[in-house]
């Protein structure tokens, strides 16, 4: 389809406009975080920080419990990632490689579980953990996130494993490798990208989650970073520079990791949907 130069310029113009509108909030967050106080609270907005400063970041990091909550978030997230990858990998191997009674039921369950609205489960989870004295402990949150990310991870890994031909493994076994040896040397390296992608997925989900952590973790020393950020405003008035610095710090790891897996996610999605 050939288009005139005028039409193309017009579309490019609109495209740039859309880009500016979509990106402006993110730009505004970062630039506010870099501005000194009097440029933030200016009656006429200062579009570009005249002398970028890291003061706001320093303020944010000095807010009580920041580092403490960073550590909590990391403990929760890393535990979830390690355990969930192990469990999901085993289950994915089972679903991708073996035919067994109940396989379809398991797959249907995995998909159905992902439709359950999180917000609705907060009440029973709280009461259950309250009854066994596990409210305000990272363990409850970890168990919950685990169950929350597992279905997606099993499903994604299943695809990766199913894509490795069984013949490859058999060839290795003919050449003298044991079943486990063949699996570790042939399948595992091919599935490694899938493990990384799903691991990052688990990281992002656990890092971003709000409502469960909000309900379960009540004492300041036990909270995760999203809770710290959400309660930033209520300390003493609103320090917008500090808040934007905190928001930037919280978003940064996720944005970086997300850029790694993004291509994989969009590709997988459309392959499924359009084919249907």
């Amino acid at each position: 389809m050939r288009r005139s130069i005028a039409a193309r310029t017009f579309f490019d113009g609109v495209g740039i406009l859309v880009l500016v509108v979509m990106m402006f909030p993110i730009y505004w967050m970062i630039s506010t975080a870099l501005k000194p106080g009097k440029e933030i609270l200016a009656l006429n907005p200062v579009w570009i920080p005249s002398a970028p400063t890291f003061d706001n970041f320093r303020t944010a990091m000095n807010v009580p419990y920041f580092w403490n909550d960073v550590v909590n978030s990391l403990v929760v997230v890393l535990t979830v990632v390690v355990v969930s990858i192990a469990l999901a990998f085993l289950a994915a191997v089972s679903v991708a490689r073996f035919g067994f009674r109940g396989r379809t039921a398991f797959i249907v369950m995995i998909i159905a579980v992902q439709m359950v609205p999180l917000n609705a489960l907060v009440i029973p989870i709280y009461l259950l953990l309250n009854a066994v004295g596990q409210v305000d402990s990272l363990l409850g949150v970890i168990a919950y996130y685990l169950a929350f990310v597992l279905p997606f991870m099993i499903w994604t890994l299943r695809g990766f494993i199913a894509n490795v031909p069984v013949d490859l493994e058999e060839a290795a076994m003919v050449d003298g490798a044991s079943r486990v040896g063949a699996f570790m040397r042939i399948v595992f390296p091919l599935v490694a990208p899938g493990l990384i992608a799903t691991g990052i997925f688990g990281f992002i989900q656990a890092w971003n989650e709000f409502i469960i952590a909000y309900v379960l973790l009540s004492s300041s020393s036990k909270q995760t970073l999203t809770i710290w950020l959400a309660s930033f405003t209520t300390q003493h008035g609103t320090d917008w520079g500090g808040l934007m610095a905190g928001a930037t710090l919280t978003a940064l790891p996720v944005v970086i990791l997300f850029l790694f897996v993004q291509r994989h996610i969009v590709g997988g999605l459309t392959a499924g949907a359009v084919k249907g």
Binding site: L90, P124, W155, D167, W240, M244, G246, T250
Partner: protein
Amino acid sequence: MEAAIRTEARTATVETDLEPAPRRRLVPRANLLPYVLIAPALLVIAGVLGYPLGMLGWLSTQRYGLRELYQHQGEFVGLQNFVTILSDPQFHYVLEVSVVFTVINVGLSMFFATFIALLLERVSRVVRLLLTSGLVFVWATPVIPAINLWQWMFDYEFGVVNWLLTHLGAGNYIHHNWFENPIQGFTVITVIVVWGAIPFLALMLYAGLTQVPRELVDAAEIDGARPWQVFAWITVPILRPIFLVLFSLSTIWDFQVFNQVWVLLNQRPSKDYFLISVFSFQESFRVSQFGLGSAAAVVMVAILVVVTFFYVRQTIRLSTEDGR
């Protein structure tokens, strides 16, 4: 956004029931191995998700207040909780607002996403690359920081939105408080939800558009079809399955919006702002009526189950029509 990434699995639903078994599968010598492999994951999912889900249903039939909380024991009241909330005018308002909110948010998200997807097809390569990268950045921004940044943009005193609106001649927005009036407040919430939803939807639709056969479009144009006719008679029918999936997913997400309301309004939203999940949360954790809160949550799950069921069934029907 947090849920957006999970969609791959959800979208894959489309295929599950139809997916032919892998051509070759190892037949386990000892039949127990596959079960041993899924057991740990199954235990976690059933124990941590399945059990609470069952318990939610049970709780909705209990009187469960502060006293019961200390005794760890509710009192069975049958369907009394449902009768209570369904005859409560406030809950009617909550349901109404939630439905209207969902319709508006899904509609706007899909409209802008389609617009951007079509635009992506028509721009030059450089602009396309810039725009897709921008969308990915917005998509990657976690929801709580995103809410905070919009809170700052809509601040009544130094918010950049008030300044822009005033200086673009939309009226006097100096010291305008957006949250006094719930309709304006919900406008802000809608902006946050739609802004966060657009990237995923637009990228999905654009990826779908690239799979529309070129020959069909060319043939239609040679036959004299106008651009909107090409869109209505070729693009939309081909993208129907993708539209359906995205509509359903957006509905599922927008109907349970909680964080945007809760964090934006500093964890103390007034009654005007109660969407269904906010209502359920408030009843449970602020008023300590866990039974009533559970009943509201059950109503939410029930409505979503209908949407989900409709989505799965429609999708299967569509794919069998194609003769797969």
